[in-house]
């Protein structure tokens, strides 16, 4: 019972921004592209086109970057685009005066193009954690050419 249908080699990792997936298979809390935006599905309902027709899916989804709500209806046997959403952890190494932050990448380099989050509580939390010398891990979500901080965690250390 073995075959070679599933290959995990990825020669062009990250090259493709989206993948096709059958609409009937996209679940609540899964990702979907609607009107060119990467979204997370918050509601799926199915209905039929006429009593004896085929099923179609009604998605309500939220843009993962700007929080806006979008909707779409797709026949459930058709394909939808699903965005490639990557989330990477970085260690916070510096917060500069102008609100930009420095992150340490896996390869040892730095990533300096992100600002502190606009949420005041979180920004203050990051600052205080950083100033107290704790190890602060920042999770950055990226998809379809955009990126944003999506979570922060203190690993302890410091005083």
């Amino acid at each position: 019972m073995s075959d070679d249908e599933h290959h995990f080699e990825s020669s062009d990792s990250g090259a493709s921004k989206t993948f096709p997936q059958q609409a009937g298979n996209i679940r609540k809390s899964g990702f979907i592209v609607i009107k060119g935006r990467p979204c997370r599905v918050v509601e799926v309902s199915t209905s039929k086109t006429g009593k004896h027709g085929h099923a179609k899916c009604h998605f309500v989804a939220i843009d993962i970057f700007n929080g806006k709500k979008l909707e779409d209806i797709v026949p459930s046997s058709h394909n939808c685009d699903v965005p490639h959403v990557n989330r990477l952890d970085y260690q916070l190494i510096d917060i500069s005066e102008d609100g930009f932050i420095s992150l340490l990448t896996d390869s040892g380099g730095t990533k300096d193009d992100l600002k502190l989050p606009t949420d005041d509580f979180l920004a203050a939390h990051m600052k205080s954690g950083f100033e107290e010398g704790k190890e602060v891990v920042v999770t950055v979500m990226s998809s379809m050419g955009e990126e944003q901080i999506c979570a922060v965690k203190e690993v302890g250390g410091g005083k």
């Binding site: 019972m1 073995s2 075959d3 249908e5 599933h6 995990f8 080699e9 990825s10 990792s13 990250g14 989206t18 993948f19 997936q21 609409a23 009937g24 298979n25 679940r27 809390s29 899964g30 990702f31 997370r40 918050v42 309902s45 199915t46 209905s47 039929k48 006429g50 009593k51 004896h52 027709g53 085929h54 099923a55 899916c57 939220i62 993962i64 970057f65 700007n66 929080g67 709500k69 026949p75 459930s76 046997s77 058709h78 965005p83 490639h84 959403v85 990557n86 989330r87 989050p117 949420d119 979180l122 939390h125 999770t139 979500m141 999506c150 979570a151 922060v152 965690k153 690993v155 302890g156």
Partner: protein
């Protein structure tokens, strides 16, 4: 003297007083008018409240009542009398008590013709409440004085208005004495119960008699006069009173059973948990009521009254909805459900005559059905007809079908069943004609009549199949059924083109299921006619589909076939939810002259449907006829049918009745068994399943029906598994599952269910080895794909790709499905499957730490796998599993503790919280399963060799989880349940672990237990009580053995501010006592609570003494004081209770506590 005794009435008010009284009256009048125009209502309310709360406001109230021109002020004055008198009752002199009541009574009688009815009924209800308050103190002579006055009023000697007032007062009185409608007085339950008993035994019947006499006194006037007369109002009141009295929940009249108070919860009538929509309360007043209700031609009078007035107003359509007509009909319907000891057991005729009399009275409302329904459609009120249906329901509830049918025969050339059938037939016709969605009389009538059929037929169904309806009744049922089916089909084809809203659809499915269940009962009452009828309808529709193929739009016919499949499914088989479904008795016992299976109507009908279903295997047919919706009905039917008929094992599915030897029955049973058509049909079913799974992509509902209902039902039967494995079609299904891409597209629940089903079918292999090999082959591809992925060097990037996420999710669902199908025969293979993916699981937990959907699947797989495996594992294997779970827990907590997510969308943040909640639940379940190893263990090792200490793992797990659990989260019922079952289990098995927890964790756990004790859910409270028992008995035993037990946790401590905090056991002793004495709870909790209370008392004897004394001191009534003191004494001493915690003592204490609560809750708990 408070100015209310009779002698002081009238005179004796000084000038000064008068001025005072007038100013009070003004103030109240002003306040009332302010409230009405809504200007400064707060101040106005305060003024009124001050009157209510002032000490002894009776004089002022009386003055207002007698002099004020503002009705609202009079109303408020009456209310104030009630408030004050209830509050000050025990200080009032006996004369004043009586005085207040007689003032109220004479007030209402004097003002009987006043137009402000609400003031009068308020005053009258105040009189009733005060009378109840003094009920147990007044001597019979005192009561006699009041009731003489009332009786005189009711007899009508003082005019109609007074007569009405008298009846009205009795109405208030009866409702005050009935537990569900009484007003609160701050008195013990016992008081209310004694009042109720006294009224029921000594007065209720007299009141009824009075009402009857009053009604009789006005009857002639009403019948003779030609227009509406004031007597009607009195008559209506008497009818209402009689109805109310018969609604009384009679308790003390049943011979022999002495009812006692239910001290544990308020005595409100529990809902009858029947599926019926219409309420039908059986009236059982007991033998002593025979003279009032039966032997005095009461019923005859009532029927006569109604019919003569009805005749008089025949032309006035509105009359049917007049209050007096409605009340009279209500009383008639109620009398139809009279039952119990009121009918002497040696006098059957009496009962039948009673019902016959009623039926003859009701008959004009419903017979002839066609004429009546036509009149209603032309604008007459439907209420009378609906009451007629209710009367039939009532009669059906208290009789057997045969008696029911006989009743009408002396009045009509046909039986009651025929009438019932005709009546319902008319209603169905009306429903068919106007298929609007509007709720009309016909909907209500249909539901009531359907309930009547269900009531009558359900009493026959399951009685061994020998009770048949009389032939005419069968005929009636058959013709009704064909009408019903015709109307259902018409509705179906009419709705074919409308697109309904999904939500509507779901709600109507369960309603429809219930309705079809009732239809099936009717069909089964006349199977000789209905089964061939259904077969004919089905083949007609199928022929119609074939003829029109490609030329005519089949939608309407498809919808009809859809409906037919549902109806036939209900008629042929019951829903075998959770148990073996039997072939319905009616189908087994009829068709006696059939000797060849091919001619058996049930076989004919079943075969024709299976043959039809088989056609969906053809691609062309599929696209032209078998729409997804039709397939759903086909699969639903096959699942229900095969569970009842396919490959029956003798003795098991046959039931044991006297029908064994019928040849017709034998051929029904053997036709679809393994030696006959069974295997062939099974093959068709499997092929249909596979085809539908592959050919209807994205049809979620259909896939779920196939996986959850059809296939799952097949493997639940062991003998079918053997045949499944020998089928080529089943092998194809297994192969497609392992290799075919299209089955990876099923939705997650279906994936899981399919995996479970396939693994379960391995039972059909010859040996355990073969079964294990089968599972291994089936799952090898899944495990290896996970292993390959986790070994991929680029896993971190690769894993984030949507297609890989989907693949991983799918494989995990399948692994979880397989894990949940663990059985002794396949346990080895599934253990190895889990073992192979342990490392991959941990790696995936790492890479998917931000993808909560995958994390949840990982956790759930581990939960189910551990649950299935743990009890079989040997010591070294257990160690492996435990270590794995430890790593999993550690990794999960390191990812999640201290993490703060952010998002611009609050919806997404909430979603994230929900996901955390689900994870937490899974972790709790995992810990609970780990705990169970110490309880259920099938391994060959002895307990000593157990190398891993599970309590340590669970202890560690609890440390990880408790910070994540908040009281807020415990409001989710499922999480709450899981959490407390873990906690109670932990404390019962490893109380010492808890003692080792640090202060914070310890108090956190106990705060949650305290929280749990106050939950509504009986299970949660039970688990908390068990936890408490475990805790207290552990402490007590350790202490006795000279150890520290819970140590400082139990001893209490003094905080830096010098405030003493008492130990946890003391705290719980208080809480538990308060709970037991003053709160409402189910009786089921008493024994568990006793088990917790006993060790708590032993641990803290001094505190217990103190609390007991405190309670005794609080009682004002010296009688209660002694009773409480005695009861407390008995609680801890009777039944030779000693201070050791053994089974015997627990048992004794349970008994003691139960007696104690019965003794004291009656007066401690007030209402």
């Amino acid at each position: 003297m408070l100015g209310f005794s009779n002698d002081s009435a009238g005179g004796g008010v000084g000038a000064e007083d008068l001025a005072q009284l007038q100013s009070t009256m003004r103030a109240i009048e002003l306040a009332c008018s302010y409230i009405q125009i809504n200007s400064n209502p707060v101040a106005a309310e305060a003024t009124i409240l001050s009157l209510h709360q002032s000490p002894q406001p009776y004089k002022a109230c009386r003055y207002i009542l007698e002099h004020s021109q503002v009705p609202n002020a009079r109303f408020q004055a009456a209310a104030a009398i009630r408030e004050a008198a209830i509050r000050e009752w025990s200080f009032l002199a006996t004369d004043d008590k009586g005085g207040l009541i007689s003032f109220c009574l004479s007030y209402v009688m004097q003002h009987a013709n006043s137009s402000e009815g609400y003031v009068l009924s308020k005053v009258s209800s105040v009189a009733a409440q005060l009378m109840k308050r003094g009920w147990l103190e007044f001597t019979p002579a005192e009561k006699e004085v009041f009731f003489y006055q009332i009786n005189q009023a009711i007899l009508g000697s003082r005019g109609l208005d007074v007569q009405f007032i008298g009846i009205n007062f009795l109405e208030s009185l009866v409702s005050e004495f009935s537990p569900s409608t009484s007003s609160a007085m701050g008195l013990p339950r016992e008081f209310h119960e004694n009042c109720r008993k006294s009224l029921e035994q000594n007065f209720l019947k007299t009141f009824y008699q009075w009402a009857k006499d009053a009604a009789l006194s006005v009857t002639n006037k009403i019948i003779e006069s030609h227009s509406s007369v004031p007597e009607v109002k009195v008559c209506n009141a008497t009818l209402r009173l009689m109805y109310q009295i018969l609604n009384w929940e009679f308790r003390y009249s049943k011979g022999g059973t002495r009812a006692s108070i239910n001290v544990f919860s308020d005595g409100i009538r529990p809902d009858n948990a029947s599926a019926r929509k219409t309420e039908c309360i059986i009236v059982q007043p007991g033998a002593s009521w025979c003279d009032v209700l039966l032997s005095s031609s009461h019923v005859g009078w009532l029927i006569n009254l109604y019919s003569s007035v009805r005749q008089k107003f025949d032309l006035e359509g509105y009359w049917l909805d007049c209050p007096v007509a409605v009340s009279a009909r209500k009383l008639i319907v109620q009398l139809c459900s009279l039952a119990g000891e009121i009918f002497p057991s040696n006098n059957v005729q009496m009962r039948e005559q009673h019902l016959l009399l009623l039926l003859s009275g009701v008959l004009p409302w419903i017979d002839p059905p066609d004429v009546i329904s036509k009149e209603i459609e032309e604008g007459r009120s439907g209420s009378e007809m609906i009451d007629g249906c209710r009367a039939l329901l009532s009669i059906g509830t208290v009789t057997t079908p045969v008696v029911f049918d006989q009743l009408l025969r002396s009045l009509r050339p046909f039986g009651t069943l025929t009438l019932l059938s005709m009546l319902m037939g008319e209603v169905v016709k009306v429903l068919m004609a106007n298929s609007t969605d509007e709720e009309t009389w016909s909907y209500e009538a249909r539901d009531i009549l359907l309930d009547t059929w269900t009531t009558l037929l359900a009493s026959m169904d399951g009685s061994g199949g020998n009770a048949w309806l009389p032939p005419e009744g069968m005929h009636a049922a058959a013709s009704l059924f064909s009408l019903i089916v015709e109307s259902e089909l018409k509705v179906a084809s009419a709705s074919a083109t409308t697109t309904e809203d999904d939500a509507d659809c779901l709600a109507s499915v369960s309603a429809m299921d219930e309705r079809l269940g009732s239809y099936a009962l009717i069909a089964r009452a006349a199977v000789d006619a209905t089964i061939p009828f259904l077969a004919k309808l089905f083949s007609d529709r199928v022929a119609c589909l074939h003829q029109g193929r490609g030329t005519v739009d089949p939608t309407e016919t498809l919808e009809e076939v859809y409906s037919l499949l549902l109806i036939v499914g209900h008629v042929l088989a019951d829903e075998g939810e959770g148990e073996t479904a039997l072939v319905p008795d009616a189908l087994q016992s009829h068709f006696v002259d059939v000797v060849e299976a091919n001619n058996h109507p049930v076989v004919v009908l079943s075969s024709s449907i299976i043959k039809f279903a088989e056609q969906c295997l053809d691609a062309e047919m599929r696209s032209s006829i078998f729409s997804p919706r039709l397939m759903e009905a086909v699969i639903w039917f096959l699942a229900r049918w095969s569970f009842t008929y396919l490959m029956l094992v003798e003795d098991c599915n046959l039931g044991s009745n006297q029908l064994q030897s019928l040849p017709s029955r034998a051929c029904l049973f053997t036709f679809f068994n393994e030696h006959n058509q069974g295997k062939f049909v099974l093959d068709i079913i499997v092929r249909i399943s596979l085809t539908s799974l592959m050919s209807y992509p994205g049809e979620k509902d259909l896939q779920e029906l196939i996986c959850f209902q059809l296939l799952h039902a097949l493997v639940r039967r062991r003998n079918i598994c053997f045949h499944l494995l020998s089928l080529d079609s089943w092998r194809k299904l297994a192969n497609a599952f392992a290799n075919d891409k299209s089955l990876f597209l099923l939705n997650s629940g279906s994936q899981r269910s399919l995996a479970q089903t396939l693994v379960l079918s391995a039972y059909g292999m010859q040996s355990s080895d073969a079964s294990n090999q089968y599972v291994k082959d089936l799952m090898a591809h899944m495990t290896s794909s996970l292993v390959d992925l986790s070994n991929n060097s680029d896993l971190k990037n690769l894993a984030q790709r949507p297609d890989i996420i989907m693949l991983v999710s799918c494989v995990l669902e399948r692994l979880r499905g397989a894990a949940s199908a663990t059985e002794p025969r396949t346990q080895r293979a599934i253990y190895e499957m889990g073992l192979a993916v342990m490392n991959p699981v941990l790696r995936l937990l790492e890479v998917y730490k931000h993808e909560s959907a995958v994390i949840y699947l990982l956790l759930k797989f581990v939960v189910d796998w551990v649950d299935g495996q743990l009890s079989y594992l040997e010591a070294h294997e257990t160690a492996v599993v435990i270590n794995f779970c430890m790593s999993l827990l550690q990794m999960y907590s390191s990812h999640n503790i201290g993490k703060i997510s952010l998002s611009l969308s609050s919806t997404l943040l909430n979603e994230a919280k929900t996901e955390k909640y689900k994870d937490l639940r899974a972790l709790l379940q995992l810990l609970s399963h780990l705990c169970s190893k110490d309880m259920v263990d099938f391994s060959s090792d002895s307990i000593e060799t157990q190398s891993t200490n599970i309590s340590q793992v669970v202890y560690f797990g609890l440390h990880i989880i408790t910070p994540l659990i908040t009281l807020e989260l415990l409001k989710y019922p499922k999480l709450c349940f899981d959490y407390f079952s873990l906690i109670s289990h932990m404390l019962e098995v490893y109380p010492e672990t808890l003692a080792q927890l640090n202060n914070d964790a310890f108090s956190h756990v106990l705060t949650t237990v305290d929280f749990g004790l106050h939950q509504q859910d009986v299970d949660i409270v039970t688990m908390c009580l068990r936890a408490l028992k475990a805790l207290a008995s552990y402490h007590y035993k350790e202490k006795n053995a000279g150890n520290s037990g819970l140590g400082s946790h139990a001893a209490g401590h003094t905080d830096p501010n010098g405030v003493f905090h008492e130990g946890i056991l003391s705290r719980f002793l208080r809480t538990l006592l308060h709970f037991l004495l003053f709160e409402d709870y189910s009786t089921d909790l008493v024994s568990t609570a006793a088990d917790a209370l006993f060790p708590l008392i032993l641990c803290e004897p001094n505190l217990y003494q103190g609390l007991g004394n405190e309670l005794i001191e609080k009682q004002a009534n010296p009688n209660f004081k002694t009773r409480l003191a005695n009861a407390l004494q008995v609680l801890t001493t009777s039944n030779q209770l000693s201070s050791s915690l053994d089974r015997l003592n627990y048992q004794r204490f349970r008994k003691n506590l139960n007696n104690f609560l019965v003794e004291v809750r009656g007066f401690l708990k007030t209402r």
